[in-house]
Symmetry: C2
Subunit: 299 residues, 2 copies
Protein backbone atom coordinates (compact mmCIF):
# COMPACT_ATOMS: atom_id res chain seq x y z
CA UNK A 1 0.00 0.00 0.00
CA UNK A 2 1.25 3.45 -0.82
CA UNK A 3 -0.18 6.21 1.29
CA UNK A 4 0.70 9.79 0.38
CA UNK A 5 1.69 11.95 3.34
CA UNK A 6 0.81 15.53 2.46
CA UNK A 7 2.64 18.26 4.35
CA UNK A 8 1.50 21.64 5.57
CA UNK A 9 2.98 23.61 2.66
CA UNK A 10 0.93 21.72 0.11
CA UNK A 11 -2.17 21.80 2.32
CA UNK A 12 -1.83 25.57 2.82
CA UNK A 13 -1.65 26.10 -0.93
CA UNK A 14 -5.20 24.79 -1.47
CA UNK A 15 -6.87 25.44 1.92
CA UNK A 16 -7.94 28.99 1.13
CA UNK A 17 -10.39 30.76 3.46
CA UNK A 18 -12.98 30.35 0.72
CA UNK A 19 -12.50 26.58 0.57
CA UNK A 20 -12.54 26.26 4.36
CA UNK A 21 -15.60 28.50 4.83
CA UNK A 22 -17.52 26.59 2.17
CA UNK A 23 -16.63 23.19 3.63
CA UNK A 24 -17.36 24.17 7.25
CA UNK A 25 -20.65 25.85 6.36
CA UNK A 26 -21.69 22.74 4.44
CA UNK A 27 -20.69 20.51 7.35
CA UNK A 28 -22.53 22.57 9.97
CA UNK A 29 -25.73 22.59 7.92
CA UNK A 30 -25.44 18.86 7.18
CA UNK A 31 -24.85 18.23 10.88
CA UNK A 32 -27.96 20.23 11.78
CA UNK A 33 -29.93 18.12 9.32
CA UNK A 34 -28.67 14.79 10.65
CA UNK A 35 -26.65 14.03 7.54
CA UNK A 36 -23.33 13.43 9.30
CA UNK A 37 -21.74 10.58 11.26
CA UNK A 38 -19.73 11.73 14.25
CA UNK A 39 -18.93 9.05 16.84
CA UNK A 40 -18.06 10.12 20.37
CA UNK A 41 -14.36 11.08 20.44
CA UNK A 42 -11.66 9.02 22.15
CA UNK A 43 -9.27 10.54 24.67
CA UNK A 44 -5.97 9.14 25.93
CA UNK A 45 -4.16 10.83 28.82
CA UNK A 46 -0.41 10.81 29.45
CA UNK A 47 -0.03 12.59 32.79
CA UNK A 48 3.66 11.74 33.11
CA UNK A 49 4.33 13.89 30.03
CA UNK A 50 1.57 16.51 30.52
CA UNK A 51 0.00 15.09 27.39
CA UNK A 52 -3.30 14.04 25.96
CA UNK A 53 -4.50 12.77 22.62
CA UNK A 54 -7.96 13.29 21.16
CA UNK A 55 -9.13 11.08 18.31
CA UNK A 56 -12.14 12.30 16.36
CA UNK A 57 -13.84 10.84 13.33
CA UNK A 58 -16.38 12.30 11.00
CA UNK A 59 -18.26 11.87 7.79
CA UNK A 60 -20.62 14.13 5.87
CA UNK A 61 -23.08 12.13 3.80
CA UNK A 62 -22.26 12.25 0.12
CA UNK A 63 -18.60 13.06 0.67
CA UNK A 64 -16.08 10.82 -1.13
CA UNK A 65 -14.03 10.58 2.09
CA UNK A 66 -14.34 10.12 5.82
CA UNK A 67 -11.69 11.34 8.20
CA UNK A 68 -9.99 10.19 11.40
CA UNK A 69 -8.18 12.98 13.20
CA UNK A 70 -5.46 12.33 15.77
CA UNK A 71 -4.61 15.49 17.71
CA UNK A 72 -2.29 15.54 20.68
CA UNK A 73 -1.11 18.21 23.07
CA UNK A 74 2.03 17.49 25.10
CA UNK A 75 3.43 20.20 27.37
CA UNK A 76 1.30 22.75 25.47
CA UNK A 77 2.72 21.71 22.07
CA UNK A 78 0.08 20.60 19.56
CA UNK A 79 0.67 17.85 17.07
CA UNK A 80 -1.45 15.70 14.86
CA UNK A 81 -2.68 14.64 11.51
CA UNK A 82 -5.79 13.68 9.64
CA UNK A 83 -6.18 10.31 7.98
CA UNK A 84 -8.48 10.60 4.98
CA UNK A 85 -10.20 7.36 3.97
CA UNK A 86 -12.20 6.55 0.85
CA UNK A 87 -15.84 6.32 1.98
CA UNK A 88 -16.81 3.97 -0.85
CA UNK A 89 -14.32 1.17 -0.15
CA UNK A 90 -12.45 1.88 3.10
CA UNK A 91 -9.06 2.39 1.47
CA UNK A 92 -6.82 4.94 3.23
CA UNK A 93 -6.37 7.74 0.69
CA UNK A 94 -3.88 10.08 2.34
CA UNK A 95 -2.45 11.44 5.55
CA UNK A 96 -2.75 15.19 5.90
CA UNK A 97 0.18 16.10 8.13
CA UNK A 98 -1.35 19.45 8.89
CA UNK A 99 0.38 20.15 12.22
CA UNK A 100 -3.02 20.98 13.68
CA UNK A 101 -3.68 23.84 11.25
CA UNK A 102 -6.79 22.37 9.63
CA UNK A 103 -8.38 22.16 13.08
CA UNK A 104 -7.40 25.76 13.79
CA UNK A 105 -8.83 26.90 10.46
CA UNK A 106 -12.11 25.00 10.79
CA UNK A 107 -12.51 26.36 14.32
CA UNK A 108 -11.84 29.89 13.09
CA UNK A 109 -14.23 29.44 10.17
CA UNK A 110 -17.04 27.95 12.25
CA UNK A 111 -16.74 30.71 14.85
CA UNK A 112 -16.56 33.47 12.25
CA UNK A 113 -19.53 32.11 10.28
CA UNK A 114 -21.85 32.02 13.27
CA UNK A 115 -20.53 35.27 14.78
CA UNK A 116 -21.26 36.98 11.48
CA UNK A 117 -24.68 35.34 11.11
CA UNK A 118 -25.85 36.26 14.63
CA UNK A 119 -24.34 39.74 15.04
CA UNK A 120 -26.31 42.73 13.66
CA UNK A 121 -24.80 43.82 10.37
CA UNK A 122 -23.90 47.33 11.58
CA UNK A 123 -21.63 46.08 14.40
CA UNK A 124 -18.00 46.69 13.48
CA UNK A 125 -16.39 46.48 16.93
CA UNK A 126 -15.61 43.18 18.66
CA UNK A 127 -14.10 42.24 21.98
CA UNK A 128 -11.92 39.16 21.98
CA UNK A 129 -11.17 37.36 25.23
CA UNK A 130 -8.02 35.30 25.28
CA UNK A 131 -4.73 35.84 23.52
CA UNK A 132 -3.94 32.51 21.90
CA UNK A 133 -3.91 31.41 18.27
CA UNK A 134 -7.72 31.40 18.09
CA UNK A 135 -8.04 34.93 19.49
CA UNK A 136 -6.14 36.22 16.47
CA UNK A 137 -7.74 33.85 13.99
CA UNK A 138 -11.35 34.44 15.06
CA UNK A 139 -10.83 38.14 14.29
CA UNK A 140 -8.94 37.52 11.06
CA UNK A 141 -11.52 35.09 9.71
CA UNK A 142 -14.48 37.24 10.82
CA UNK A 143 -12.90 40.07 8.90
CA UNK A 144 -13.13 37.97 5.75
CA UNK A 145 -16.92 38.10 6.23
CA UNK A 146 -17.54 41.69 7.40
CA UNK A 147 -15.59 44.94 7.86
CA UNK A 148 -14.19 45.46 11.37
CA UNK A 149 -13.13 48.80 12.73
CA UNK A 150 -11.99 48.19 16.27
CA UNK A 151 -10.94 45.16 18.36
CA UNK A 152 -10.88 45.21 22.15
CA UNK A 153 -8.64 42.62 23.78
CA UNK A 154 -8.61 40.98 27.20
CA UNK A 155 -6.25 38.38 28.61
CA UNK A 156 -4.66 37.40 31.90
CA UNK A 157 -1.08 38.14 30.78
CA UNK A 158 -0.43 41.79 29.84
CA UNK A 159 2.47 40.84 27.58
CA UNK A 160 0.22 38.47 25.62
CA UNK A 161 -2.46 41.19 25.34
CA UNK A 162 0.14 43.60 23.98
CA UNK A 163 1.36 40.96 21.56
CA UNK A 164 -2.13 40.30 20.20
CA UNK A 165 -2.86 44.03 19.89
CA UNK A 166 0.36 44.43 17.92
CA UNK A 167 -0.52 41.52 15.64
CA UNK A 168 -3.99 42.96 15.00
CA UNK A 169 -2.54 46.43 14.44
CA UNK A 170 -0.18 44.93 11.88
CA UNK A 171 -3.33 43.75 10.09
CA UNK A 172 -4.54 47.36 10.03
CA UNK A 173 -6.99 47.11 12.92
CA UNK A 174 -7.46 49.54 15.79
CA UNK A 175 -6.74 47.11 18.65
CA UNK A 176 -6.79 48.13 22.33
CA UNK A 177 -6.52 46.31 25.66
CA UNK A 178 -9.92 47.50 26.92
CA UNK A 179 -12.28 44.56 26.40
CA UNK A 180 -13.60 44.85 29.96
CA UNK A 181 -15.25 48.10 28.83
CA UNK A 182 -17.49 45.86 26.74
CA UNK A 183 -18.52 45.56 23.11
CA UNK A 184 -21.65 44.59 21.22
CA UNK A 185 -19.93 41.47 19.84
CA UNK A 186 -17.83 39.34 22.21
CA UNK A 187 -15.75 36.32 21.20
CA UNK A 188 -14.40 34.11 23.98
CA UNK A 189 -11.42 31.95 23.01
CA UNK A 190 -9.89 30.87 26.31
CA UNK A 191 -9.29 27.49 27.93
CA UNK A 192 -10.78 28.88 31.15
CA UNK A 193 -12.23 26.63 33.82
CA UNK A 194 -13.96 29.55 35.53
CA UNK A 195 -16.18 32.25 34.06
CA UNK A 196 -14.42 35.22 32.46
CA UNK A 197 -15.05 38.72 33.92
CA UNK A 198 -18.73 39.57 33.48
CA UNK A 199 -17.88 43.22 32.70
CA UNK A 200 -16.72 42.07 29.28
CA UNK A 201 -20.22 40.79 28.44
CA UNK A 202 -22.28 43.69 29.86
CA UNK A 203 -23.01 45.43 26.56
CA UNK A 204 -22.99 42.31 24.39
CA UNK A 205 -25.76 41.71 21.87
CA UNK A 206 -23.94 38.62 20.61
CA UNK A 207 -21.46 36.25 22.29
CA UNK A 208 -19.54 33.43 20.62
CA UNK A 209 -17.69 30.93 22.82
CA UNK A 210 -15.24 28.57 21.15
CA UNK A 211 -12.94 27.60 24.02
CA UNK A 212 -15.05 25.14 26.00
CA UNK A 213 -14.22 21.87 24.32
CA UNK A 214 -13.99 19.35 27.14
CA UNK A 215 -15.50 18.57 30.54
CA UNK A 216 -14.29 20.88 33.29
CA UNK A 217 -13.86 23.88 31.02
CA UNK A 218 -16.25 26.85 30.97
CA UNK A 219 -15.54 30.46 30.00
CA UNK A 220 -18.89 32.22 29.62
CA UNK A 221 -20.67 33.62 32.70
CA UNK A 222 -23.87 31.56 32.76
CA UNK A 223 -25.97 34.77 32.97
CA UNK A 224 -25.20 35.58 29.32
CA UNK A 225 -27.52 32.70 28.37
CA UNK A 226 -30.50 34.17 30.27
CA UNK A 227 -33.23 35.04 27.77
CA UNK A 228 -30.84 34.71 24.87
CA UNK A 229 -31.22 33.02 21.50
CA UNK A 230 -28.80 30.09 21.88
CA UNK A 231 -27.14 28.17 19.06
CA UNK A 232 -24.94 25.08 19.48
CA UNK A 233 -22.73 23.27 17.00
CA UNK A 234 -23.79 19.92 18.49
CA UNK A 235 -26.67 19.74 20.94
CA UNK A 236 -25.54 16.69 22.91
CA UNK A 237 -21.89 17.70 23.00
CA UNK A 238 -22.61 21.27 24.13
CA UNK A 239 -25.00 19.93 26.74
CA UNK A 240 -22.37 17.48 27.94
CA UNK A 241 -19.34 19.75 28.14
CA UNK A 242 -19.98 23.10 26.50
CA UNK A 243 -20.82 26.45 28.06
CA UNK A 244 -24.46 25.70 27.20
CA UNK A 245 -24.33 22.65 29.48
CA UNK A 246 -22.86 24.76 32.28
CA UNK A 247 -25.75 27.23 31.91
CA UNK A 248 -28.33 24.43 31.86
CA UNK A 249 -26.85 22.84 34.99
CA UNK A 250 -26.89 26.26 36.66
CA UNK A 251 -30.61 26.48 35.91
CA UNK A 252 -30.27 29.56 33.71
CA UNK A 253 -31.77 27.98 30.56
CA UNK A 254 -33.75 24.89 29.68
CA UNK A 255 -31.85 22.08 27.97
CA UNK A 256 -33.92 22.33 24.80
CA UNK A 257 -33.76 26.05 23.97
CA UNK A 258 -30.84 25.78 21.57
CA UNK A 259 -30.97 26.06 17.81
CA UNK A 260 -28.44 24.24 15.65
CA UNK A 261 -25.73 26.55 14.36
CA UNK A 262 -26.22 24.97 10.94
CA UNK A 263 -29.90 25.87 11.02
CA UNK A 264 -29.06 29.49 11.83
CA UNK A 265 -26.55 29.58 8.97
CA UNK A 266 -29.19 28.15 6.63
CA UNK A 267 -32.31 30.05 7.80
CA UNK A 268 -31.13 33.06 9.77
CA UNK A 269 -32.73 33.80 13.13
CA UNK A 270 -35.16 35.99 15.01
CA UNK A 271 -33.63 39.38 15.91
CA UNK A 272 -34.15 41.53 19.00
CA UNK A 273 -32.70 39.37 21.76
CA UNK A 274 -29.12 38.78 22.82
CA UNK A 275 -27.64 35.73 21.10
CA UNK A 276 -25.05 33.21 22.24
CA UNK A 277 -23.27 30.65 20.07
CA UNK A 278 -21.56 27.72 21.82
CA UNK A 279 -19.03 25.78 19.75
CA UNK A 280 -17.38 22.61 21.04
CA UNK A 281 -15.96 21.49 17.71
CA UNK A 282 -17.43 18.76 15.52
CA UNK A 283 -15.69 15.97 13.64
CA UNK A 284 -17.91 16.63 10.63
CA UNK A 285 -16.15 19.97 10.12
CA UNK A 286 -12.74 18.26 10.25
CA UNK A 287 -14.00 15.72 7.75
CA UNK A 288 -15.42 18.32 5.38
CA UNK A 289 -12.28 20.45 5.35
CA UNK A 290 -9.90 17.51 4.97
CA UNK A 291 -12.03 16.02 2.21
CA UNK A 292 -12.17 19.34 0.39
CA UNK A 293 -8.40 19.76 0.65
CA UNK A 294 -7.70 16.27 -0.65
CA UNK A 295 -10.26 16.64 -3.44
CA UNK A 296 -8.40 19.78 -4.59
CA UNK A 297 -5.04 18.03 -4.44
CA UNK A 298 -6.09 14.97 -6.44
CA UNK A 299 -7.88 16.96 -9.14
CA UNK B 1 6.70 16.36 8.86
CA UNK B 2 7.96 13.12 7.42
CA UNK B 3 5.98 10.08 8.42
CA UNK B 4 7.28 6.69 7.35
CA UNK B 5 4.63 4.38 5.91
CA UNK B 6 5.77 0.82 6.58
CA UNK B 7 4.32 -1.90 4.38
CA UNK B 8 3.34 -5.46 5.13
CA UNK B 9 6.54 -7.03 3.79
CA UNK B 10 8.71 -5.11 6.23
CA UNK B 11 6.24 -5.65 9.08
CA UNK B 12 6.13 -9.40 8.41
CA UNK B 13 9.92 -9.59 8.56
CA UNK B 14 10.00 -8.54 12.23
CA UNK B 15 6.55 -9.63 13.51
CA UNK B 16 7.58 -13.17 14.38
CA UNK B 17 5.22 -15.34 16.44
CA UNK B 18 7.65 -14.91 19.32
CA UNK B 19 7.48 -11.10 19.14
CA UNK B 20 3.68 -11.13 18.83
CA UNK B 21 3.16 -13.65 21.64
CA UNK B 22 5.43 -11.67 23.96
CA UNK B 23 3.74 -8.37 23.20
CA UNK B 24 0.18 -9.71 23.49
CA UNK B 25 0.91 -11.58 26.73
CA UNK B 26 2.42 -8.41 28.17
CA UNK B 27 -0.59 -6.36 27.06
CA UNK B 28 -3.16 -8.79 28.46
CA UNK B 29 -1.41 -8.91 31.86
CA UNK B 30 -1.02 -5.11 31.91
CA UNK B 31 -4.70 -4.76 31.01
CA UNK B 32 -5.69 -7.09 33.86
CA UNK B 33 -3.62 -4.95 36.21
CA UNK B 34 -5.16 -1.66 35.08
CA UNK B 35 -1.95 -0.47 33.44
CA UNK B 36 -3.45 0.25 30.02
CA UNK B 37 -5.52 3.04 28.46
CA UNK B 38 -8.18 1.80 26.06
CA UNK B 39 -10.94 4.30 25.21
CA UNK B 40 -14.25 3.01 23.90
CA UNK B 41 -13.89 2.39 20.15
CA UNK B 42 -15.52 4.54 17.47
CA UNK B 43 -17.66 3.04 14.71
CA UNK B 44 -18.73 4.64 11.44
CA UNK B 45 -21.27 2.90 9.21
CA UNK B 46 -21.55 3.22 5.44
CA UNK B 47 -24.66 1.22 4.59
CA UNK B 48 -24.71 2.38 0.96
CA UNK B 49 -21.41 0.57 0.42
CA UNK B 50 -21.92 -2.33 2.88
CA UNK B 51 -19.09 -0.82 4.87
CA UNK B 52 -18.05 0.03 8.38
CA UNK B 53 -14.98 1.45 10.01
CA UNK B 54 -13.80 0.73 13.55
CA UNK B 55 -11.28 3.04 15.18
CA UNK B 56 -9.52 1.71 18.28
CA UNK B 57 -6.81 3.27 20.38
CA UNK B 58 -4.60 1.78 23.02
CA UNK B 59 -1.62 2.35 25.25
CA UNK B 60 0.28 0.08 27.61
CA UNK B 61 1.90 2.04 30.42
CA UNK B 62 5.65 2.31 29.96
CA UNK B 63 5.52 1.76 26.22
CA UNK B 64 7.31 4.34 24.06
CA UNK B 65 4.28 4.48 21.73
CA UNK B 66 0.53 4.59 21.69
CA UNK B 67 -1.48 3.40 18.72
CA UNK B 68 -4.60 4.42 16.82
CA UNK B 69 -5.96 1.67 14.61
CA UNK B 70 -8.31 2.33 11.70
CA UNK B 71 -9.86 -0.86 10.40
CA UNK B 72 -12.60 -0.95 7.79
CA UNK B 73 -14.62 -3.67 6.14
CA UNK B 74 -16.41 -2.83 2.90
CA UNK B 75 -18.28 -5.58 1.04
CA UNK B 76 -16.36 -8.15 3.13
CA UNK B 77 -12.95 -6.71 2.17
CA UNK B 78 -10.80 -5.66 5.13
CA UNK B 79 -8.52 -2.68 5.03
CA UNK B 80 -6.73 -0.58 7.55
CA UNK B 81 -3.61 0.64 9.19
CA UNK B 82 -2.14 1.46 12.54
CA UNK B 83 -0.86 4.92 13.37
CA UNK B 84 1.95 4.69 15.93
CA UNK B 85 2.50 7.84 17.99
CA UNK B 86 5.34 8.75 20.36
CA UNK B 87 3.84 8.56 23.88
CA UNK B 88 6.34 11.04 25.31
CA UNK B 89 5.62 13.97 22.98
CA UNK B 90 2.63 13.15 20.76
CA UNK B 91 4.62 13.09 17.51
CA UNK B 92 3.31 10.61 14.92
CA UNK B 93 6.12 8.08 14.49
CA UNK B 94 4.95 5.82 11.67
CA UNK B 95 2.02 4.34 9.83
CA UNK B 96 2.01 0.56 9.80
CA UNK B 97 0.15 -0.29 6.59
CA UNK B 98 -0.41 -3.83 7.79
CA UNK B 99 -3.50 -4.67 5.68
CA UNK B 100 -5.18 -5.92 8.86
CA UNK B 101 -2.56 -8.58 9.53
CA UNK B 102 -1.39 -7.25 12.90
CA UNK B 103 -4.96 -7.48 14.14
CA UNK B 104 -5.23 -11.03 12.82
CA UNK B 105 -1.96 -11.99 14.50
CA UNK B 106 -2.75 -10.41 17.85
CA UNK B 107 -6.17 -12.10 17.80
CA UNK B 108 -4.54 -15.44 17.01
CA UNK B 109 -1.91 -14.94 19.69
CA UNK B 110 -4.38 -13.89 22.39
CA UNK B 111 -6.65 -16.84 21.63
CA UNK B 112 -3.79 -19.34 21.50
CA UNK B 113 -2.25 -18.03 24.74
CA UNK B 114 -5.44 -18.43 26.76
CA UNK B 115 -6.50 -21.67 25.06
CA UNK B 116 -3.12 -23.12 25.98
CA UNK B 117 -3.24 -21.74 29.52
CA UNK B 118 -6.73 -23.08 30.29
CA UNK B 119 -6.67 -26.42 28.49
CA UNK B 120 -5.20 -29.43 30.37
CA UNK B 121 -1.68 -30.11 29.12
CA UNK B 122 -2.45 -33.61 27.84
CA UNK B 123 -5.16 -32.46 25.41
CA UNK B 124 -3.86 -32.67 21.86
CA UNK B 125 -7.13 -32.64 19.94
CA UNK B 126 -9.11 -29.47 19.22
CA UNK B 127 -12.35 -28.70 17.46
CA UNK B 128 -12.44 -25.47 15.52
CA UNK B 129 -15.78 -23.91 14.57
CA UNK B 130 -15.72 -21.62 11.60
CA UNK B 131 -13.61 -21.72 8.47
CA UNK B 132 -12.27 -18.20 8.09
CA UNK B 133 -8.80 -16.77 8.51
CA UNK B 134 -8.95 -17.06 12.31
CA UNK B 135 -10.03 -20.71 12.22
CA UNK B 136 -6.73 -21.58 10.54
CA UNK B 137 -4.66 -19.12 12.55
CA UNK B 138 -5.99 -20.09 15.98
CA UNK B 139 -4.83 -23.65 15.27
CA UNK B 140 -1.51 -22.61 13.76
CA UNK B 141 -0.66 -20.29 16.65
CA UNK B 142 -1.82 -22.77 19.32
CA UNK B 143 0.50 -25.28 17.73
CA UNK B 144 3.41 -22.92 18.43
CA UNK B 145 2.59 -23.41 22.12
CA UNK B 146 1.73 -27.12 22.37
CA UNK B 147 1.77 -30.22 20.15
CA UNK B 148 -1.53 -30.95 18.39
CA UNK B 149 -2.46 -34.30 16.97
CA UNK B 150 -5.91 -33.90 15.52
CA UNK B 151 -8.17 -31.01 14.48
CA UNK B 152 -11.92 -31.40 14.05
CA UNK B 153 -13.58 -28.79 11.84
CA UNK B 154 -17.13 -27.47 11.57
CA UNK B 155 -18.56 -24.83 9.29
CA UNK B 156 -21.77 -24.02 7.46
CA UNK B 157 -20.28 -24.37 3.97
CA UNK B 158 -18.91 -27.85 3.15
CA UNK B 159 -16.49 -26.47 0.57
CA UNK B 160 -14.98 -24.11 3.16
CA UNK B 161 -14.70 -26.99 5.66
CA UNK B 162 -12.87 -29.07 3.05
CA UNK B 163 -10.60 -26.14 2.26
CA UNK B 164 -9.67 -25.63 5.91
CA UNK B 165 -9.05 -29.37 6.40
CA UNK B 166 -6.78 -29.33 3.37
CA UNK B 167 -4.87 -26.31 4.68
CA UNK B 168 -4.42 -27.96 8.08
CA UNK B 169 -3.39 -31.24 6.45
CA UNK B 170 -0.79 -29.32 4.48
CA UNK B 171 0.57 -28.26 7.86
CA UNK B 172 0.90 -31.91 8.82
CA UNK B 173 -2.23 -32.14 10.98
CA UNK B 174 -4.88 -34.85 10.98
CA UNK B 175 -7.88 -32.63 10.15
CA UNK B 176 -11.42 -33.98 9.77
CA UNK B 177 -14.89 -32.47 9.29
CA UNK B 178 -16.34 -34.02 12.45
CA UNK B 179 -16.31 -31.24 15.05
CA UNK B 180 -19.94 -31.98 15.98
CA UNK B 181 -18.66 -35.24 17.50
CA UNK B 182 -17.02 -33.00 20.09
CA UNK B 183 -13.54 -32.46 21.49
CA UNK B 184 -12.06 -31.56 24.86
CA UNK B 185 -10.85 -28.22 23.52
CA UNK B 186 -13.20 -26.16 21.35
CA UNK B 187 -12.31 -22.90 19.61
CA UNK B 188 -15.15 -20.83 18.14
CA UNK B 189 -14.12 -18.36 15.45
CA UNK B 190 -17.36 -17.45 13.69
CA UNK B 191 -19.24 -14.19 13.16
CA UNK B 192 -22.43 -16.00 14.21
CA UNK B 193 -25.43 -14.13 15.57
CA UNK B 194 -27.01 -17.33 16.90
CA UNK B 195 -25.49 -20.05 19.03
CA UNK B 196 -23.45 -22.71 17.25
CA UNK B 197 -24.62 -26.35 17.47
CA UNK B 198 -24.42 -27.47 21.09
CA UNK B 199 -23.21 -30.95 20.07
CA UNK B 200 -19.82 -29.40 19.35
CA UNK B 201 -19.45 -28.35 22.98
CA UNK B 202 -20.77 -31.52 24.68
CA UNK B 203 -17.40 -33.01 25.63
CA UNK B 204 -15.55 -29.71 26.02
CA UNK B 205 -13.37 -29.13 29.07
CA UNK B 206 -12.25 -25.80 27.62
CA UNK B 207 -13.92 -23.40 25.16
CA UNK B 208 -12.36 -20.28 23.63
CA UNK B 209 -14.62 -17.85 21.76
CA UNK B 210 -12.97 -15.16 19.66
CA UNK B 211 -15.69 -14.25 17.17
CA UNK B 212 -18.09 -12.16 19.25
CA UNK B 213 -16.67 -8.69 18.84
CA UNK B 214 -19.70 -6.44 18.51
CA UNK B 215 -23.29 -6.09 19.71
CA UNK B 216 -25.66 -8.54 18.06
CA UNK B 217 -23.08 -11.27 17.66
CA UNK B 218 -22.96 -14.40 19.81
CA UNK B 219 -21.59 -17.84 18.95
CA UNK B 220 -21.35 -19.84 22.18
CA UNK B 221 -24.43 -21.64 23.53
CA UNK B 222 -24.97 -19.87 26.86
CA UNK B 223 -25.07 -23.25 28.68
CA UNK B 224 -21.31 -23.67 28.23
CA UNK B 225 -20.85 -20.92 30.82
CA UNK B 226 -22.88 -22.77 33.50
CA UNK B 227 -20.58 -23.65 36.39
CA UNK B 228 -17.50 -22.85 34.32
CA UNK B 229 -14.36 -20.91 35.16
CA UNK B 230 -14.80 -17.84 32.95
CA UNK B 231 -12.03 -15.55 31.71
CA UNK B 232 -12.56 -12.34 29.71
CA UNK B 233 -10.07 -10.13 27.91
CA UNK B 234 -11.97 -7.03 29.06
CA UNK B 235 -14.69 -7.31 31.69
CA UNK B 236 -16.83 -4.36 30.58
CA UNK B 237 -16.48 -5.07 26.88
CA UNK B 238 -17.31 -8.77 27.22
CA UNK B 239 -20.26 -7.88 29.43
CA UNK B 240 -21.44 -5.34 26.88
CA UNK B 241 -21.14 -7.35 23.68
CA UNK B 242 -19.24 -10.60 24.26
CA UNK B 243 -20.54 -14.13 24.68
CA UNK B 244 -20.10 -13.60 28.42
CA UNK B 245 -22.66 -10.78 28.30
CA UNK B 246 -25.09 -12.99 26.41
CA UNK B 247 -24.74 -15.66 29.12
CA UNK B 248 -25.21 -13.06 31.89
CA UNK B 249 -28.32 -11.66 30.23
CA UNK B 250 -29.66 -15.21 29.86
CA UNK B 251 -29.24 -15.65 33.62
CA UNK B 252 -26.72 -18.48 33.26
CA UNK B 253 -23.90 -16.78 35.19
CA UNK B 254 -23.51 -13.79 37.46
CA UNK B 255 -21.92 -10.69 35.95
CA UNK B 256 -18.93 -10.83 38.31
CA UNK B 257 -17.74 -14.42 37.94
CA UNK B 258 -15.10 -13.71 35.32
CA UNK B 259 -11.37 -13.65 35.80
CA UNK B 260 -9.18 -11.44 33.65
CA UNK B 261 -7.42 -13.40 30.91
CA UNK B 262 -4.23 -11.58 31.84
CA UNK B 263 -4.57 -12.77 35.44
CA UNK B 264 -4.94 -16.37 34.25
CA UNK B 265 -1.85 -16.00 32.04
CA UNK B 266 0.08 -14.57 35.00
CA UNK B 267 -1.18 -16.82 37.84
CA UNK B 268 -2.74 -19.89 36.25
CA UNK B 269 -6.15 -21.06 37.44
CA UNK B 270 -8.03 -23.60 39.49
CA UNK B 271 -8.44 -26.92 37.64
CA UNK B 272 -11.34 -29.37 37.69
CA UNK B 273 -14.14 -27.35 36.13
CA UNK B 274 -14.91 -26.58 32.53
CA UNK B 275 -13.37 -23.28 31.46
CA UNK B 276 -14.50 -20.66 28.96
CA UNK B 277 -12.44 -17.78 27.59
CA UNK B 278 -14.30 -14.89 25.92
CA UNK B 279 -12.21 -12.57 23.77
CA UNK B 280 -13.64 -9.40 22.24
CA UNK B 281 -10.30 -7.87 21.26
CA UNK B 282 -8.55 -5.08 23.14
CA UNK B 283 -6.80 -2.02 21.81
CA UNK B 284 -3.96 -2.58 24.26
CA UNK B 285 -2.97 -5.69 22.31
CA UNK B 286 -2.94 -3.74 19.05
CA UNK B 287 -0.84 -1.09 20.73
CA UNK B 288 1.63 -3.58 22.18
CA UNK B 289 2.16 -5.43 18.91
CA UNK B 290 2.47 -2.29 16.80
CA UNK B 291 4.88 -0.74 19.31
CA UNK B 292 7.00 -3.89 19.38
CA UNK B 293 7.11 -4.02 15.58
CA UNK B 294 8.13 -0.38 15.28
CA UNK B 295 10.70 -0.72 18.07
CA UNK B 296 12.31 -3.57 16.10
CA UNK B 297 12.31 -1.55 12.89
CA UNK B 298 13.89 1.57 14.36
CA UNK B 299 16.60 -0.33 16.26
Amino acid sequence: MTLPVIGLAEISRVATPSLVFTAVRHALIAHAEGRTSVPAPMVLDFPAHAGDCHVKAGYVEGSPYFVVKVASTFASVNNGLMLVVDATNGTPAAVLADEGKLTAWRTAAAGALITDAMTPVDVDEVAVLGTGEQALMQVQWLRELRPLRRVKVWGRRPSAVDGLCAALAADGLDARPDALAGAKCVIATTAAREALPSAAFRSAVHVTGIGTDMPGKGELPVEVFAGAVVATDDHEQCLDHGDFGNAVRAGVVADDVDLAIGAVLRDGMERGRRSVADLTGIGAADAAVAAAVLAQLVR
